[in-house]
Symmetry: C2
Subunit: 410 residues, 2 copies
């Protein structure tokens, strides 16, 4: 597997466009992703009970696991907009389908931005017309720009991986993502679009995607808030013409694991984890990436609860923002997680420096710890010494800038 140039149009047969239709004042606000042929597709959505109209529409459409285009707008979430919102979301798909000459049931939709305002449909329709005209194999970057809200930077990535078994082949996977506030599992509050030219079976795509999401987007947090619009989409159009990837295949009448699936999974994990970390790094007002590794947990859920509690603790986040060697906040946060861990067994390392051994503070040199905390990546290792389960979770620091950004009406 190697990283390659380009964003979501790096895989064969994908085109994209990003245009400005006027929902936002100056910046691009409408993106279109298109595959030359219908693609095997999967998507996962916010677990928020309040689901935006485009989420409701896409949930219904994705059941068929087949899609050929996605229309996305930023600047307006089309959430809490009732029947009108649903009609507007359907209309976005319908118009794009009409102009592209494809089945409207195979056009997905996504929106991000402010909640509770109806979509300015005239502008959006104009935007869709323009985007269809602008579709291009070089359009990835413009599309990645058009989905942003408070993000500071475009976030995209592409890789190529060998599919070495059962007839050699190469496939490409690429993704773009937006999200910088309202980021918390499950999912991290964001829109993510992944394209691949791999030929892959429906159930294999679903399994790979669920597994990748659990290692990436469900393991990050900026502020603990979950949006009404979170969505992750993947389109696999098969144009790499590789032997179809399955979770298993038959050999001499026996089911055996498809090794190619493992290659695909590895590349997809890489794409998802990379994008997830980009989101945290671009967290509103964030200056530092915090990686929390928890090991030795009695159960997987304990590992996750501890990691999440530490990464989400405002006191941990502010201490790291200020490079303040207040490790007590880490131990207080992990103790507050709903687990049955025994505190007297816990060791904590910050940037490799042991700050807690067997539940007690070590006599660390505060100056060294302060230096570690000044770096732009801080690793917190928590060894619970109570089992074999582990996890990694990513968060970011909390600064005055986060508050400043969110005091405004966005």
């Amino acid at each position: 597997m190697r990283q390659i140039q380009g964003g979501i149009t790096a895989p064969e047969g994908f085109k994209a466009a990003g245009v400005h239709c006027g929902i936002k004042k100056n910046r691009p606000d409408l993106a279109l992703i298109y595959s030359e042929v219908p693609a095997v597709s999967y998507a996962m959505f916010t677990t928020n009970k309040v689901k935006a109209a485009p989420v409701q529409v896409s949930i219904r459409k994705i059941r068929k696991m087949r899609a050929q285009a996605i229309v996305v707008n930023s600047g307006n979430a089309n959430a809490c907009t009732g029947q009108r919102g649903l009609r507007d979301a359907e209309r976005m798909a319908e118009l794009a389908a009409e102009l592209l000459g494809i089945n409207k049931e195979e056009v997905l939709v996504a929106s991000t931005g402010i909640i509770g305002k109806p979509l300015p449909m005239e502008k959006i329709e104009r935007g869709i017309r323009e985007a269809v005209g602008a579709l291009s194999p070089q359009g990835a970057h413009q599309a990645a720009e058009a989905i942003l809200t408070t993000d500071r930077a475009v976030k995209e990535i592409a890789v190529e991986t060998d599919i070495p078994k059962r007839g050699k082949g190469k496939v490409r996977i690429a993704g773009m993502i937006k999200g910088s506030g309202m980021i918390s599992p499950n999912l991290a509050t964001m829109l993510c679009f992944i394209t691949t030219d791999a030929c892959i079976a429906e159930d294999a795509l679903k399994e790979a995607m669920r597994s990748a999401i659990n290692k990436s987007f469900n393991q990050i947090s900026v502020d603990g808030d979950m949006s009404t619009n979170d969505s992750v989409f993947i389109l696999a159009n098969g144009l790499a013409r590789n032997k179809r990837i399955k979770t298993w295949h038959k050999k001499k009448k026996r089911k055996i694991e498809d090794e190619n699936f493992r290659y695909f999974q590895q590349a997809l994990d890489y794409i998802c984890i990379s994008l997830a970390k980009m989101v945290v790094r671009d967290g509103e007002g964030a200056t530092k990436l915090i990686e929390v590794k928890v090991e030795g947990a009695p159960f997987p859920k304990d590992a996750r609860r501890v990691a999440k509690a530490v990464a989400n603790s405002l006191l941990v986040k502010t201490a790291i923002a200020g490079a303040s060697p207040n490790w007590g906040r880490v131990i207080a946060a992990l103790g507050a997680a709903h687990t049955k861990i025994k505190p007297h067994k816990v060791d904590v390392y910050i940037g490799g420096l042991p700050v807690v051994k067997g539940g007690e503070g070590t006599d660390i040199d505060e100056k060294s710890l302060r230096e570690i905390l000044k770096k732009d990546e801080v690793e917190i290792n928590i060894q619970l010494n109570q089992g074999d389960n582990k996890t990694t979770f990513w968060g970011c620091d909390l600064t005055e800038e986060y508050v400043g950004i969110n005091k405004r009406y966005v």
Copy 2:
């Protein structure tokens, strides 16, 4: 019931002192509370798995439900300090008992401040000696000052209530509290000391206290963090010489409810809710009190989860800090709570203004909403329309100042 002058020494037979022993640079840092006679006592402690040494010591001592004094220091939490921490906490109680000529098992201890540093015992011993000498019926305010850390203000209150049944009487209840950061259920991260001269049975005191805590300290949040030291203590010394309050008494061989218990409960609720609201209002960097009322929930836990999710949402907190009419964040936060509520039934009011009806945004006047959000108390009413359960939860806004305070090493 009426509010009366004075703090924790307002009830009969209580003395207090607050002195400076040198844990903190300039401000008082050691408090002593003393009852002339042993008091029926109860306490509740942090549910954090990591419990500070004084919490561990007081948990053991309170089992007897009898205490006569409490020693408290601020500036150092005596948490994550191992065996030495436990010995130090025991020693605080022992020395105070010796000097006061009382049973050391009836002296409770509490600490608040930085985690992971051993207590400066010489200073503390000197402080205890001084505090014993300084004990006075006018010492409440000094004691309330000596328990503070990042608090901006002393927080104390006292009331007198009639105990009108079965031989008239009056009892007094008073309390003092510290806490401004690390505030989250259960308990809110804080130290709270309540005194009363009521004569009350052990089980009645326990029941009243548990009930009051659930309506107050477990219903507030500043930052969602839970400390290793949270404790709420109550001492009831009986010197009001009222007929002993019970949960029930016998009349003509039948068990009937003791109406006096209700009067006591009402006064205790008032004390606890008042103190809890003082803590939130004094939340680190807070400029506004947010009251979240949830009604119409299918189950009590749904009401609580929704209220807590809204009060804890950083996006709601920052929107209110900025008086930004972004009500969509309220609906996003309530949808993210782990409940089975149906979003399309939900109404939301902010300061009486309907912003969501049946899950959809109303066309509110943003200017009026902005005016409401500029006030220093903001009420959010959430009508779920899905049952009969309700709750009230208090939080505060999140400002740049909170971040600034917590970036420092305290």
